[in-house]
Amino acid sequence: MTMRDNEETLPNPVRAAFDRPSTEDGVIVNIGPSHPATHGTLQIIAELSGEKVVRADVHCGYLHRGFEKECEAHTWHTLIPFVDRLNYCSALINNFAYCDAVETLMGVEITPRTRYLRTLLSEYSRIADHMTCIAASVMELGAMTAFLYLMTIRDWIYEHLADLTGARVTYSYGRIGGLAHDLPEGWLERLGEILDQYEEYVGRIHGLMDRNRIFIDRTRDVGVISTDQAVHWGFTGPILRSTGAARDLRRDTPYLAYSELDFDVPVGINGDNYDRYYVRMREMDESVHMIRQLMQMLPEGPINVDDRRCTFPEKQRVYTEIESLINHFKLVIDGPQVPAGEVYRAHEAANGELGFYLVSDGTGTPHRVHVRAPSFVHMGGLHKLLEGYQLADVVSTFGTINMIGGECDR
């Protein structure tokens, strides 16, 4: 029995931009927020003329959980787990982008081993993220085999990362000034095996999808956007690159160890769904190429900086020295003291530019944390990709945008 009074009608949480069709034969339909193809929760209110989408009004926010407000009540350290839950397909990139922003504000320089490890793990996460995106989008077009192949590899990656961090999806592995701990025994050997397997499986995906008539008909010249329009609407990442613009923060404003790596920035031609699929496939290959270089380059050494402002003292010393005990206590209770100021640091996340804008008032708690989430910005321009195409194309276009509810709605 429901407790809600039957007489009471719920107010609509959403006000559509238009409530009547612009032409006589137009129909307004509502897609989502709970729809299998909206992975996560997104609502599209569309005006149709026959099967064609004339106008689209995109609503997000169904997964809003007050991330930025919550951060203001935590120390700089204890909000790291929240950061994981932004883009939960590649949580490590979020971790490292956030830590990088705080470290910039504190003036901390991370150790060489951590720098290479973060780069390696960012690329590894990028593979997992692109795989999720491609798997979901091709599955929605009916490619069940390709989906299962991709999920097989992704699951090996998840289990491999669980071996490293203790969690399958939300790792909380980054720390301000370093990482939670070093690599376990034999981790790199297993990494090499997975990369070899990856090549075999992705070869099969290419064989299944690239020249597949059904796939091409559903994706070629669908959801097209030009470079100028993409920049105008703030698109970054694979969507911008699929239009032919080689814009990649890893190349343009190198951070971590990217300036020392050899890699290409794959671009598309048309900016349609097929190009977005192919750019992601090629980017995964580049990531594998980078990881193999990083495995050779990875130096020995400490992973945490020797800086008492952010790194916890060794447990043995906490138990035996009063200074270390106080240090530990202050770091847990008050949090790392970040100098007053503001910083904007952006990393090339799997979906585009992931920026952290942090404002500190000089205490252990942030005054303001703002995330420039690529998915949110992409939702602002999504209607441009939907209007003028068929209703059925909404699914395939939305799949290749790779909207992640966690970072879109925060």
Binding site: R4, H59, W233
Partner: protein, 157 residues
Amino acid sequence: MPDDLLERLRSRLADEGREATFAHGLLAVQIPREALLDTVKLLKDGFGFDLFLDVTAVDWPGRDPRFDVVYHLYSTRDHVRVRLKTAVSGTDPVVDTLVPLFGAAAYMERECHDMLGIRFRGNDDLRPILLYEGFEGHPLRKDYPKGREQPLVRYRE
């Protein structure tokens, strides 16, 4: 090359009450709110800052003016970022909209209005985006209590 550009930009912008400084890898410019539209036009047309990254605001309770509205722009040609910051008072938190210049601003201005109650003059589509119709208050203001609840559906008894 980017250093040269930033230096030119700094000297070009350092007038009319605008202040430009380098901070953590980008050029931070403090501008009066009347100069916002002109400054952004100058950056976009004259210096190639074509990618609108972000708009947000920071609440400083007890300070007058109370809010900082913060913009980040990026040049896809020169790979540099610039931050524009303008202060608005708590009683009249209004700035000009940038939607005519950047489509991307539309969604982000809606979010900023949602979360902090900054109004954007000229943007007539400030419907809630992350929140819902009928939500009262602006949650990212410091005087909005974190634990306050406004459920759409009443809790079960």
